[in-house]
Symmetry: C2
């Protein structure tokens, strides 16, 4: 790790804007050189450090239990019931209130959560390791195409059955297939998927296919050994084209954690929603969350029968993909998204180009064919965000009141998080309070 660490900004020279630029550039290089590999699929309790049987992880900057509302509250209670920590919702609520059951943020455990992001001890997680650094990121499995999903704020018999199925059937076979394959390098899949219409957040069609292909030989071998569940697991992985999002999220998490804690860096390392807030973390500001209001929908498309009043925020940490240069930051690679979340190709290109104004580097490996194979914009600099007035754009799945997905859209992060973070950074390193360099 020592040789790969970026220079700290306060090693004598003082945190001048130029020095911060230098630290940020070195951090962005680390982001570009990350080598995320899916090494296993394991129950969270076996692999996530510190996750005990009475903890329910959920998305976003943590809130006191009483502040969780709507679908996210339902989902946390569902997680507790799924783990057998209470016999019904009222009992779960009482134990969550008393602290017998603990609610915590995914990000503090090396995890990232999709929508409500419920992660509990028995749930299988994708284990993604940075091959260079040995660090790990985790994300639960895609729940399948049913509108009833725990992470979309629903817990009922169907959801429970699906979760048990993932735990008992899908995860053990996938684990065997992944280990037999010797791990699946995700960097190459992400690179190729960007050339096949994915931006690896709201579109993962190619990523899911490429990932499945990597496991085919192992599946065939397992089938020969009498594993009859191979067929249904293949069916599960083919359904919905969203399997790979979770791998992309865990890859982005382990990548961005690689620069978390970089002294003197103004780069964003996480962006996440709870049901009430949007929040960011900054490399040079440790684990602190800088909170703001929920993001604004810039454009989107709701499924038939739903209107804007039906939208409900239930949390979401998939913007870790944008933090790493994917999703909205790579949307000019994914024009097919128009069919899913509205917009036009022209507008997607405009929005994508804007993101170069708030980042410090272009990815050396992940490229956008339409932009002449320009690298995706990477390394969101809070100084550039505040200076330009441009905040990150994120491709997000939309949940509806009462639970379930009702659409998808492009959302704009709130400026408040970035100004709050920059204030904190400048309080900490007053020399930094000068204009940021205007170009990379």
């Amino acid at each position: 790790l020592t040789t790969q660490s970026p220079p700290a900004a306060d090693d004598g020279a003082g945190a001048t804007p130029a020095r911060i630029d230098e630290v940020n550039r070195a951090a962005a290089e680390l982001v570009c050189s990350a080598q995320p590999v899916l090494v296993d699929i394991r129950p969270a309790r076996d692999v996530v450090p510190g996750l005990d049987d009475t903890t329910i992880l959920t998305s976003g900057a943590p809130l006191p239990w009483d502040e969780y509302t709507g679908g996210q509250r339902t989902a946390v209670i569902g997680g507790a019931l799924f783990e057998g920590l209470a016999s019904d919702a009222d009992e779960a609520d009482a134990r969550l209130r008393s602290g017998e059951i603990r609610v915590a943020g995914c990000h503090d455990f090396g995890c990232v959560g999709s929508l409500a992001g419920i992660t509990t001890a028995s749930m299988p997680v994708l284990v993604v390791e940075d091959a260079g650094r040995g660090t790990r990121g985790y994300c639960t499995l895609f729940e399948g195409r049913s509108p009833s999903r725990l992470n979309y704020g629903v817990y009922n018999h169907e959801v429970r059955t699906t979760l048990l199925y993932l735990e008992r059937v899908v995860a053990p076979l996938l684990s065997d297939a992944v280990r037999r394959t010797g791990g699946v390098p995700l960097r190459l899949i992400i690179r190729r998927a960007l050339h096949m219409g994915d931006e690896l957040h709201s579109r993962n069609t190619a990523g899911s296919l490429l990932f499945s292909r990597e496991l085919f030989p192992a599946f065939v071998a397992l089938a020969r050994e009498g594993r009859y569940e191979v067929d249904e697991v293949i069916e599960y992985m083919s359904s919905g084209d969203y399997f790979f999002l979770r791998a992309s999220m865990a890859a982005a998490k382990v990548t961005m954690d690689g620069i978390a804690g970089t002294e003197g860096s103004t780069l964003v390392t996480a962006m996440a929603l709870s049901c009430r807030e949007f929040a960011i973390r900054v490399a040079g500001l440790g684990d602190e969350w800088f909170r703001g209001p929920l993001p604004h929908m810039e454009g989107g498309s709701l499924f038939d029968g739903f209107g804007p009043d039906d939208i409900e925020f239930m949390g979401g940490e998939s913007p870790i993909t944008e933090t790493a240069g994917l999703g909205g930051f790579a949307q000019a690679a994914a024009f097919p998204l128009q069919a899913y979340q509205g917009g036009t190709a022209e507008r997607m290109v405009e929005l994508n180009l804007e993101m170069y104004d708030i980042t410090v580097a272009e990815h050396t490996e992940f490229k956008i064919p339409y932009l002449g194979y320009r690298g995706v914009p990477v390394g969101i600099d809070i100084r550039r965000v505040v200076e330009s007035g441009i905040t990150p754009i994120m491709d997000i799945g939309i949940a509806g009141r009462g639970g379930g997905q009702i659409g998808a859209g492009a959302f704009r992060a709130p400026m408040e998080c970035f100004t709050a973070a920059l204030d904190a950074f400048e309080r900490r390193t007053p020399e930094a309070a000068a204009p940021a360099a205007s170009s990379v």
Copy 2:
């Protein structure tokens, strides 16, 4: 067939330009409604009507044997040797000259050939059936990634071994897998692949993956039954990302044959190269080829170490894909092609848009995400080509002197074929000699 046939142009009203437009529109609707399904992979002799053991099919408007030169000549001789029709090249040449061995054009047998397009009795072909009409198109299998391939003008021990491997190992297993799957509908794969960066001529990365996924459950079942070649066939299908081109070609062939012979139609039904000529067929002009010079390279990219003087034409019928609205006519769906055949995204869009000027319809099923899901331009009207001065653009693999692929590029069809065809059409139906309608 009767109910689907377009109205003939000379049924009393005379072949006026407006009447021709009407016939062409009906023909274009037939093109859009074709339902190509891969139903089997069989030795050509078992399925290609009229193909006997002493016939060698090759690409392009047929030439007298002595006019085949270079790689295409080598390939025809290679086909004869592969079939055991002669003991060496000189003997094969003598028998080809005497007519003991017959050379014929792929298109006359329902086949289309890649590059030199050699198709002989024992070679396995993809059998693609139009589910609506029951008609069939055929194309041989991808020879794999080796630069030494029969269709790139090489015949040696390695090529022979590959061809035998396709015949003895790959084709029988694929046949079993395809039949067990109940046929693979290609229309859906082509539609999805256009949303994943393919144009289905020079880029088939997504098509090949999507196709493999369709067969995967059958492969697993066959593996359980002790078919140990499953692993190597999966490996073959994953190599090179070009497997699907042959399916795309056969699908385009059966689609365009659906309007061949449409009395009074000025739509192109085939475009093909031999080593000496480019040639087209027109729906209302039967099987006649209208010949012109070889196409002009508009832009392209040669592999390291090769220059323009190394390029050699060896034939090629893959422009059947452009004839059906794919390839160069769908290049704005395939910006990743820049990395393979040069150019810029802007130029690809310009070229793609030009093709709307020479076609009579937009495909109702095959769409281009970047163009706001506009249907691909389909139904090349020889009148529009001559009037606009714009000829079709085609994405083509480039062969080199001495054999092998040396690059890929965008080529422009020669105007001469279109003027010759229009002259013939007007001689046949003098009422047609008025300006074409200027819009669809």
